[in-house]
């Protein structure tokens, strides 16, 4: 059944909420009262329920199937965490009610921070960033503030081509010039290239932004040497923590020399993706960057943790660069992430990383004879990257292959990212999948590969056939964007048809 838009079924005089008109209404709005209707349709509660339930049934979800989106980490979202976030003591407290009435909330911020700093081996944390990219911005702002404080004004940020798009975008937002550093044939960054770039821009390098494990699913094995080179030129090492989930409990980024790293709580610590957000991107900082951590932050005192909200509350040595957002960050996500960490514990978090890596390698060996590994048959971390060499001469593209997966009941893997290999397919099964689920997934992909090689092209080029929609015309959408609903033009009516 097709489900219309609310604008096509709702009416502005229908409401699904029972409210009584105020007994007295003597407005004090000055001359500001609304002068025209809004045009917002309403639905009675049963209609609204059905509308959104039906919409939901057109969505794929981790709860209903394997979701192997590389670098996006679609893992199980425990409902315990949802329950905890909805405790009135967390869900129903105002960010600006007296601090004496939110002591438990501040304790939670402190406890979450302690876990994240211990897991990353770092000295400070900024909890407030609202998402991963916001965390990147926060980390790079701390770096810029540190340079400014030291009287420096370097202009260059080094970013490898395999980076997420947010990395260069963030650097650019702060006025930095982005310089690419090359990767080696094995998919990792070449420390020599880093040194060369530093030399080429002597004294003008502010930072390097590196994802580790990188977006090819590989651990940057020269990371310590890279950090040393960066530090030697008074620059900072920003690590994109999107893939931190591969190494939690196995290694600590702080021990590897990073100065700042955001943590996507939704990727590593299972807060739900929610169809595209909300995220949460706390940033851990090295000792060198700690003083610049933005407001608000939690200060540990003998009387317990204290929330520092303004510059008036600072103590010597605290030099926050400013504020990333109103209020204190994504509390709802903090509760969920802490519930996840408490549930796993030190042992469970390590096991989860190991299982994530084990599952990815299991998929790798299950497919590597039929699909093509751009960097050879070597172990990967939590995700395995294939390129489209294996589709050569089949008439099937990465996009086609991905869409055909939909008809087999799977969400496609990440496609065409990273940019450094041709027709990339980045598969991250996560630790949430059972061996049986992986076996079925591998068997299905093997079948698809054989089908492509047999020349059953239309199975791919026309896919998906079994989804709520066939392939959608994205070009048309972008050419003359229709971003809001407008009523259809009244049909031409002949005079006779008018009653």
């Amino acid at each position: 059944m097709e489900e219309p838009l609310i604008f096509e079924i709702g009416r502005t005089d229908t409401t699904g909420v029972d409210l009584d008109e105020p007994a007295e209404f003597a407005p004090e709005l000055g001359a500001h009262a609304r002068s025209a209707p809004i045009g917002l349709p309403g639905l009675a509660e049963p209609e609204a329920m059905r509308h959104y339930v039906r919409l939901s049934r057109n969505n794929y979800a981790i709860d209903s199937g394997l979701y192997p989106l590389g670098s996006c980490t679609m893992k199980h979202n425990p409902r315990l965490n949802e329950k905890m976030a909805r405790l009135p003591g967390f869900g129903d407290i105002h960010p600006l009610q007296p601090l004496s009435t939110v002591r438990g909330a501040v304790e939670l911020l402190a406890e979450l921070g302690d876990w994240l700093m211990e897991l990353t081996g770092t000295a400070a944390i900024a909890l407030s960033p609202k998402a991963g990219a916001h965390g990147e911005l926060c980390g790079m702002m701390a770096i810029k503030a540190a340079h400014t404080a030291a009287g420096r004004d370097p202009k260059i940020v080094l970013v490898p081509d395999s980076a997420h798009g947010t990395n260069p975008a963030t650097a650019a937002l702060l006025g930095y010039r982005v310089v690419a550093v090359d990767a080696r044939d094995d998919g990792t960054v070449d420390v020599a290239a880093v040194r060369a770039a530093i030399a080429a821009h002597a004294g003008d390098v502010a930072a390097i932004m590196l994802t580790n494990p990188n977006t090819c699913g590989l651990f940057e094995r020269d990371i310590v040497a890279i950090a040393e080179a960066i530090h030697a030129t008074d620059a900072y090492f920003y690590c994109d923590g999107a893939n931190f989930n591969a190494i939690v409990g196995k290694a600590r980024p702080g021990d590897l020399g990073i100065d700042a790293m955001h943590i996507n709580l939704h990727k590593t610590f299972s807060t739900p993706h929610g169809g595209g957000g909300p995220g949460s991107g706390p940033v851990v900082l090295s000792q060198r960057l700690a003083p610049f951590s933005p407001l608000p932050f939690v200060r540990k005192t003998a009387d317990g943790p204290v929330l520092v909200e303004t510059e008036a509350g600072l103590e010597p040595g605290e030099r926050p660069f400013g504020r990333m957002t109103a209020f204190h960050g994504q509390m709802g996500m903090f509760v969920r992430a802490l519930a996840y960490m408490l549930s796993h514990g030190a042992d469970g978090l390590k096991q989860a990383s190991e299982d994530a890596v084990l599952n990815a390698n299991y998929v790798r060996v299950g497919l590597q004879d039929l699909m093509s590994l751009p960097f050879g048959e070597r172990p990967c971390m939590h995700e395995v990257l294939f390129d489209d060499t294996f589709l050569k001469d089949t008439g099937v593209t990465t996009l086609d292959f991905a869409k055909a997966m939909i008809d087999e009941g799977y969400h496609p893997m990440t496609m065409y990212f990273p940019l450094v290999v041709h027709g990339a397919m980045l598969i991250e099964p996560t630790e949430s999948e059972s061996r049986a689920a992986l076996d079925l997934f591998v068997a299905t992909l093997r079948d698809l590969v054989m089908s492509a090689k047999r020349g059953e092209t239309e199975r791919f080029t026309g896919a998906p056939y079994l989804a709520p929609r066939r392939r959608l015309d994205e070009t048309r959408a972008a050419r003359a964007p229709v971003l809001t609903w407008t009523p259809p033009a009244p049909a031409e009516v002949s005079p006779q048809a008018v009653e």
Partner: protein, 448 residues
């Protein structure tokens, strides 16, 4: 571990299949010295019951807003959210779905985003809206950057009625980018002379209405002056319910409208996650930040929706993107849209009238307390009062009496001693006459 389906037998079998002798061989690229030998220094795993105990203990140390007479606003508002909203957003298919990059199997998300965009555009009386920002404050920062792109200028003028933390966000971002920010002094009564600060270098004027202090502001003259100088008017609001009753920014000449959408569908949750609303004129759409959902057709000609205009975005344009933003606030936007759909125009306008009527009642009660002065001539559900004592202390004394009475302006503006006695208070539909009477009586007591 309850979340990990692999058993030890599976692990051993899988390692053998992979052809390695131990799991650590798969981590061999990590420099030996940095490899953790044992466990990090953190507690071991806990069962559900223990986790619940631990977190419930923390939660119990907080005073839930719903347990006391509650008048705190200043950018986040306690409204009643229908139970249907929270039920629906917890549907697996909404909660555990990713960004709809594969539109064929995420039409559910895409269609509600299209509904959301249309609702926001209509509420604000603007042409187009995006699929949400993190929140109102970061949205305001993005709006200023967008104005700079549109005007190719770099000076923003901020009203003294702008939420101080929104101002801080703009200042932080602009400061880092070497742009100019002219922030006017705090303006509780809405009487500042902002027109004279607009000149030919001005990229944008940022005005909040209802202001941080609750004052309703006439945006029309500001828009006219701004446009005359080639600048944009960015209109900000933190209380979206006000749009049920007051003239929308789009009807007053705003070029970009940014708002906090938390009031509809979303709880207080100590400040986040919330949902930023962002709307603009059609002509600026390609300079907008954030995700956009657009209508199209599928291979069989059926209507469908996709994320569109992604050439503005970082994952395509990288350092040339309009913003580094990646995530939106999808699930909060869904909550907003469902609540808005349940209300409809009839419900929203009635809700707005109840809010206003309650605030008017509260204003009368508080104004009758000796020494208390209400500062605002026109307001929605929130207003500022001048107390005869330091507001911070009064609020603490009221909290001791079990009343959460509002936000002392000094909490956000501690260095401006002129504001030390100011309190911002809100009254929404959740307050009863008893709540308000208790507040007024306790205030009388504390000030006596």
């Amino acid at each position: 571990m309850r979340y990990l389906p692999l058993t030890d037998t599976d692990r051993a079998d899988m390692l053998a299949r992979i052809g390695v002798g131990s799991i650590d061989e798969l981590f061999a690229d990590i420099p030996e010295a940095a490899r953790l030998k044992g466990l990090v220094d953190l507690p071991r795993r806990k069962g559900e019951l223990e986790v619940e105990r631990h977190l419930s203990r923390l939660a119990a140390k907080n005073v839930a807003a719903g347990s006391v007479p509650f008048f705190v606003g200043a950018g986040a508002y306690r409204h009643h959210v229908p139970a249907t909203v929270d039920h629906l957003i917890q549907r697996s298919e909404f909660l555990t779905s990713y960004t709809p990059y594969q539109p064929e199997i995420t039409q559910g998300t895409l269609q509600y985003l299209f509904e959301f965009q249309t609702q926001v555009a209509r509420l604000t009386a603007m042409d187009v809206a995006n699929a949400s920002m993190y929140d109102g404050s970061t949205g305001t920062g993005e709006a200023v950057l967008m104005a700079h792109r549109v005007t190719r200028r770099t000076k923003a003028v901020l009203s003294g009625g702008l939420h101080p933390q929104y101002r801080a966000v703009v200042e932080g971002l602009s400061g880092m980018a070497d742009d100019t920010v002219v922030a006017l002094p705090a303006d509780p009564t809405g009487t500042e002379d902002i027109l004279s600060r607009i000149d030919d270098d001005t990229s944008c004027v940022v005005v909040q209405s209802p202001s941080f202090y609750g004052q309703l502001i006439d945006l029309k003259p500001i828009a006219e002056k701004a446009h005359a100088h080639g600048a944009l008017l960015i209109a900000v609001f933190t209380e979206v319910v006000s749009l049920g009753l007051i003239e929308p920014p789009g009807a007053q000449g705003a070029d970009i409208v940014v708002g906090e959408g938390q009031s509809l569908g979303n709880g207080l949750t100590f400040g986040g996650p919330y949902v930023g609303l962002f709307a603009t004129r059609q002509k600026y759409v390609r300079q907008m930040p954030g995700r956009l959902c657009g209508e199209t057709v599928d291979a069989e000609g059926r209507r469908g929706f996709v994320l569109t205009l992604s050439t503005r975005e970082q994952h395509i344009r990288r350092e040339k993107a309009t913003s580094n933003i990646c995530t939106n606030s999808g699930l909060c936007a869904l909550a907003f849209t469902i609540h808005m759909t349940l209300l409809g125009e009839a419900g929203l306008t009635r809700l707005a009238r109840i809010n206003h009527a309650n605030a008017v009642k509260l204003k009368k009660l508080l104004a009758a307390v000796p020494g208390v002065e209400v500062l605002n001539s026109a307001f929605f559900n929130e207003f500022a009062v001048a107390l005869p004592k330091v507001a911070d202390h009064v609020v603490e004394a009221l909290a001791d009496r079990g009343i959460l009475a509002g936000v002392p302006v000094s909490r956000l503006e501690p260095r401006n001693k002129d504001l030390a006695n100011l309190l911002v208070v809100a009254s929404t539909e959740i307050n009863t006459d008893e709540d308000r009477a208790a507040f007024a009586a306790a205030l009388r007591e504390v000030l006596a």
